[in-house]
């Protein structure tokens, strides 16, 4: 009996130590436990836990109910796992960018194709893709445009410049798709996709 209590205490102490103090200070016990399960799962799968913690804190700050917070954290964890799978690993920045893209509606297959098109870091191209979707460009249009640009060798700076130009066009009243087409006019077509 004494041994069992001591083991339970040690387990609890270990868990408490592993928990992020920002979460323990701000989340109620029920939501804390559910969020911690998601974080433990992410740690087990070697996924970045930072975005999950920030998501839970955002929900708490915006006074979302427990189910909403846990649901958002879980959806983000699944997106992180999906992004890592689609990218075949990758850096933490790439996986986080990929998760944001997937949550924005970009198909995981687009991330796969992007990986085959470029060996260097993909975090900027993926972020640009997500930003275009955030500005109203259809996810399929955004992903095929960025893939095309990456395949013809456009670098990160050029992609960022393109995003800014499209952003300006949309702000000045152009339809998102028209803005994308305008900025892609004259860009040479990429060759056939690289086979897996």
């Amino acid at each position: 009996m004494r041994f069992g209590l001591a083991a339970a205490f040690l387990l609890w102490a270990g868990l408490a130590e592993a928990q992020d103090p920002r979460l323990t200070e701000r989340l109620g016990p029920g939501v804390l436990q559910a969020v911690q399960l998601q974080i433990d799962s992410a740690n087990h799968d070697q996924l970045p836990a930072g975005p999950l913690i920030r998501k839970a804190l955002e929900g708490q700050s915006k006074r979302a109910d427990s189910a909403r917070i846990v649901g958002a954290v879980r959806a983000l964890r699944l997106a992180l796992a999906g992004a890592r799978l689609a990218l075949g690993g990758g850096s933490e920045e790439e996986v986080i960018a990929g998760a944001n893209a997937i949550r924005a509606g970009v198909p995981a297959l687009a991330l796969q194709r992007l990986r085959r098109a470029r060996a260097a870091s993909l975090s900027t191209p993926i972020d640009v893709m997500t930003d275009l979707v955030a500005r109203g460009v259809e996810p399929s249009d955004a992903s095929s445009a960025v893939e095309r640009l990456v395949r013809i060798g456009r670098n990160d700076r050029e992609l960022i410049r393109l995003r800014e130009q499209i952003d300006q066009d949309i702000r000045s009243g152009l339809d998102p798709r028209a803005a994308l087409e305008r900025r892609l006019a004259g860009v040479p077509a990429a060759g056939p996709p690289i086979p897996p």
Binding site: R22, R54, K55, L57, E58, G59, Q60, S61, K62, A64, R68, A72, A75, E93, A97, N100, R103, A104, G105, D127, T130, D131, V133, A134, R135, I160, D167
Partner: protein
Amino acid sequence: LTDHGRELDPIVGAALAELRRPADLGPGVDAAVLAQVRRLPSPRSLRFRQRMAGAAVMGAAAMLLVVFARVRAAGEAGIPFAIEAPSASSISVVGDFNDWNPSITPLERSRDGRWTVRLKLRPGRYRYSYLVDGTRWVADPAHPAPPDRDFDAPTSLVTVRETQ
């Protein structure tokens, strides 16, 4: 003896004659004086030194200006966050960069009702919102909203690049 046509008293005349006689300083004096004169800096050398000193002063002033500009730039560094809200009594920016803590980053109000703050952020992407009067979440019209709508409240997305 006369002085300018006037006849002088013999004693005065003798004194004047003695004073008018060139003093004999010895044969080496002229050479020594000329050697001293040659050692003095020439007018050309003096002009060069004056120019060098002027250049040094100008250089120091330029360096001070650069330092001042850098200090001033450092004071203005950071990502600007701004919102127009003349009737608000308090606004803070709340986001991934401050753990979504509303009390960490208040904005300052200017006379024209514009609220601003500058934040030094590492390169990356950040979700954030403005919290107006502690109760109302407002998105930043200067930046896009993230595509997901996790918590309904208006949210914005800022991307910080290496150069910012």
